[in-house]
């Protein structure tokens, strides 16, 4: 049997290898484990690699006659460490959850298990998904496979880096203010944030409940559509879930004739780097070349998005993260003088600086006397943003913008300035506030670093939005595998064979 080259291999590619008998599930899984062994020393995308579990799940697939297998059975996947997997340590990259082994599966995990996917392991992230660089992990610093001195973005930085470095064919992440799309953009992969409610949040460790969504990070749009269809659906365990109105299916659109694209004016100002703007403008031309119509649109309220987000998300987070109290699971400071002392020491030692900062902001914003001025006002701003998007979608089928105003920045560059870090989510945040679906696809490079294009659709427009993204992706032809050399001291996969 020929050696499997996983670089550039999509999930569809994996499926074809398995279906055609060109690889067994164990061989495929082994190939990814080898790739992880070869490059993860440099990338540091994984927090947990479940070699044993993955190989035994793959062996179980191989034991079934091919004819009886489900379409994606035996295809590996990697998971952001914010998703609860029964029996597999789930930390949210936080000391406070170190050693926590969930007694249950997230709904998306149960769905993927039922579909026969093989779980390679858990991926690094900003602690509790709070961050835009994955530097807020309590455990390790993930690097951008395109330039190891740069951040992969965040908070799903491990997921984006892992796919870009071919350490998994695809991965799941979560997006609260851009946490799938921004790292996808910075790592040159596809990242999809579904409509709020399309995918169950049950088992997704909550950051900001009214904004969080799980979504795919993949090499291409077809993989994103396929993974979305695997995880979407109304879930009786998530009262806010609705599922999709129809499956995303297999995107196949060739042109963009008849589609109107609004170019969001507010995102093209000074906040955007020149190189990013150039790639974006070129993408706009491609839209036109494919027959789509582009026009500028103004959504004045989106400029208030970051401010509204940095009230709503920390407020919800301050409540969601109150359960980490050292009583039922996770880290506990011991011995303690009394209960209050235990609470305070456990939480102060267990949470990192950014998490504590946001708990402080949220607690402040919700506290007596400030609720109306901050939290309620942010919720009204949210209403305003929803109204602006609704109006824009009267004129346009989709809205487009750069995903991130900048390319991947250097490690450590923004960590000291929280507000600057927050502003890297300028273009992605309003989408979460309005509960809309959006996808980031690779649009090109600036100074050798990937630049993403964000396509935003109306609620539940995923099938059409991904169809349009597919047409653009085919024309743009951006390479989504980082030219990653194995790090020093790490033997290559070839060497091991």
């Amino acid at each position: 049997m020929a050696r499997i080259d996983v670089t550039g291999l999509t999930a569809h590619g994996c499926r074809d290898l398995l279906a055609g008998g060109d690889a067994s599930a164990v061989e495929l899984t082994r190939a990814y484990l080898d790739r992880i062994a070869a490059v993860d020393g440099s990338v540091q995308a994984y927090l947990t690699v479940d070699e044993e579990g993955a190989l035994s799940a793959a062996a179980a697939v191989d034991a079934k006659p091919r004819r009886e297998r489900l379409p994606w059975e035996g295809v590996p996947i990697a998971l952001k460490d914010i998703l609860c997997v029964k029996g597999m340590e789930t930390t949210c990259a936080s000391r406070i959850l170190k050693g926590y082994v969930p007694p249950y599966d997230a709904t998306v995990i149960a769905k993927l298990r039922a579909a026969g996917l093989v779980f390679l392991g858990k991926l690094n992230m900003d602690e509790f998904a709070m961050g835009s660089s994955t530097e807020n992990s309590a455990f390790q610093t993930t690097r951008n496979p395109w330039d190891l001195d740069r951040v992969p973005g965040g908070s799903s930085g491990g997921s984006a880096a892992c796919v870009a470095a071919a350490e998994a064919p695809w991965a799941l992440g979560s997006d609260t203010g851009g946490s799938i799309r921004q790292p996808a953009s910075l790592c040159g992969v596809v990242g999809l944030k579904p409509t709020y409610g399309a995918v169950s949040r049950y088992g997704l460790v909550a950051f900001a409940s009214s904004l969080d969504q799980i979504g795919p990070l993949t090499h291409d749009v077809r993989d994103a559509a396929a993974l979305l269809d695997l995880i979407a659906g109304r879930d009786p365990r998530d009262s806010t879930s609705t599922g999709l109105r129809g499956p995303a299916g297999v995107p196949a659109r060739a042109g963009l004739e008849g589609l109107r694209f609004g170019v969001i004016k507010e995102y093209l100002g000074d906040a955007c780097e020149q190189g990013v703007l150039e790639v974006f403008e070129s993408a706009v031309k491609t839209v036109g070349a494919l027959g789509g119509v582009c026009d500028e649109v103004s959504l004045p309220s989106v400029e208030r998005g970051v401010a509204a987000y940095y009230l709503i998300a920390p407020s919800e987070a301050s409540s969601n993260l109150a359960r980490y109290d050292g009583v039922r699971y996770g880290y506990r400071h011991a011995p303690s003088e009394d209960l209050y002392d235990m609470y305070v020491r456990t939480r102060s030692e267990g949470f990192g600086a950014e998490v504590k900062r946001r708990i402080m902001i949220g607690t402040y914003a919700l506290s007596a006397g400030y609720y109306d001025a901050y939290y309620a006002q942010a919720q009204r701003t949210r209403t305003l943003i929803i109204q602006d998007f609704t109006a824009a979608f009267q004129r346009f089928d989709y809205l487009i913008s750069p995903t991130s105003p900048t390319v991947a920045f250097k490690l450590g560059e923004r960590i000291a300035d929280p507000l600057a870090m927050y502003l890297s989510d300028l273009c992605t945040i309003p989408v979460n506030l309005a509960a809309l679906p959006a996808v980031s696809i690779p649009a090109g490079f600036a100074a050798g670093l990937p630049v993403g294009l964000q396509i935003i659709g109306p609620h539940f427009s995923e099938p059409g939005m991904l169809d349009a993204a597919y047409a653009l992706e085919r024309r743009l032809k951006v390479d989504t595998v980082a030219p990653l050399a194995a790090g020093p001291g790490v033997s290559s996969a070839e060497g091991e064979r």
């Binding site: 009214s210 301050s318 009583v327 996770g330 235990m342 102060s348 902001i361 209403t383």
Partner: protein, 93 residues
């Protein structure tokens, strides 16, 4: 801006404690963030309803039918301190 006293009060509410040097750094950081988000307080949004649920769902209810839960071992398996099937907490002063 946010006063030192307010920072300490909020920290107590959140069951967090900061060392002296952390507080010195945190207070102006929080101040800058709060000044930034305060821009919203200046907007006149009096005609708008706050959005707390962005997707218009209602009446999502569950039938009153039991579903199996966890065993005592599973329930307490992650507990840092467990005694006779119960979670132990320090003296409540």
């Amino acid at each position: 801006m946010i006063s030192r006293q307010e920072v300490e009060h909020v920290a107590r509410l959140a069951r967090l404690r900061f060392e002296e040097d952390e507080l010195t750094r945190l207070q102006p950081e929080l101040g800058r963030i709060i000044d930034y988000v305060r821009q919203l307080a200046e907007l006149d949004l009096s005609g708008l309803e706050p959005t707390s649920h962005a997707v218009p769902l209602k009446n999502v209810l569950r039938a009153d039918e039991p579903v199996p839960g966890l065993s005592q071992e599973e329930a307490t398996g992650n507990g840092p301190d467990v005694e006779r099937g119960q979670f132990v907490v320090p003296r409540i002063a």
